[in-house]
């Protein structure tokens, strides 16, 4: 599908929700790239900042002067309140019929956004999820240990849950808004497990899910919010999903 056909679908509006915490530089970069790659698409970006002390919100306000306050919505919160609630908060202000969720740290490159949109238009899917683990996709910046944990976690999850998608913890996804609203209301987990819970519940509910290969370059600027107890949380999450989905 070429750009022309993409444009003709004027009925669709895409609300891109970007949760941020201390992403002062990354938020500029990512907004620039989004606007660069979605030139003829009707979209808005909703920045949900959790009271970043580094001045992220000031930078967003500057960006609003460049791109327009109708295209960049700053919907901040007073402090860190978690990813799930950030999405819910963002959705309340979303005027599109599709919602994209992505990370602000440049690990998710906006150049894949047209591909997500195209895939959805071609297949009529309810959810298009980016996968790092298939040919055409990939990861850069992970050492052997990181790859091992990722692969081990994935095999375990595939064996226990039979989810129907290759990348469970990925958080670069396009959702039909109504579908996201439906799933998010039943998800209670936090962190990585939250992303897994969303896609597994969607799969169980029979939503049409498509995958698109994406490349993932690990955090360029800033510090990664990867804690030490993630593995325990992950395992607990797997058991929870095994029992409740």
């Amino acid at each position: 599908m070429d750009e022309k056909k993409l444009n003709q679908n004027q009925k669709n509006k895409y609300s891109i929700i970007v949760p941020t915490y201390n992403e002062r530089l990354n938020i500029s970069l990512i907004l620039y790239l989004i606007f660069k790659h979605l030139q003829d698409v009707d979209f808005e970006v909703i920045v949900v900042d959790d009271g970043s002390p580094d001045g992220t919100q000031d930078v967003v306000k500057q960006l609003q002067q460049v791109y327009g306050e109708d295209r960049i919505l700053l919907r901040a919160r007073p402090r860190k309140m978690g990813l799930g609630t950030a999405y819910i908060h963002g959705m309340k202000h979303a005027s599109g019929n599709f919602v994209v969720i992505m990370d602000a740290d440049l690990s998710h490159h906006p150049k894949y956004l047209p591909g997500f949109i195209r895939k959805q238009l071609e297949t009529g899917a309810d959810i298009v999820t980016g996968t790092r683990y298939v040919k055409g996709g990939g990861v850069h910046g992970w050492n052997l240990m990181r790859k091992l944990t990722s692969r081990g976690a994935n095999v375990l999850a595939q064996t226990l849950l039979w989810p129907g998608v290759s990348d469970l913890t990925g958080s670069f996804r396009l959702y039909r808004k109504s579908v996201l609203e439906d799933i998010i209301s039943c998800c209670v987990s936090k962190g990585y497990v939250f992303q897994m819970e969303m896609i597994v519940r969607a799969s169980r509910k029979g939503y049409h899910i498509e995958e698109v290969p994406i490349t993932f370059v690990d955090r360029v600027y800033g510090s990664s919010k990867l804690g030490g107890s993630e593995i325990v949380e992950y395992l607990k999450g797997l058991v929870y999903l095994l029992m409740t989905t």
């Binding site: 500029s28 970069l29 620039y32 500057q62 790859k147 692969r151 029992m243």
Partner: protein
Amino acid sequence: MKHIVKILTLVIAITALWVGLLQTSTIPQSHTWLLPIYFVVSLGCYGLLMVGVGLMNFPTCPQEALLLQKDVVEAKEYLKQRGVDVSTS
């Protein structure tokens, strides 16, 4: 149907098969008793194999890091000109 029910059904079916084998003695009893252990060990080995294979074939994209750096430079240039603060502090 919850996923766990599917899995339990599968486990029950396999257990029934195992009990059946025990009773009809098609295979010598001593071997049959060990079947569950063989099964679990095979499953474990299969899992490890999958992890190993996946690790060997892990898709990487070193060129993407370079492309990203180019994008970063481009973005900083553009935004700086338009009065956006692109410093990291």
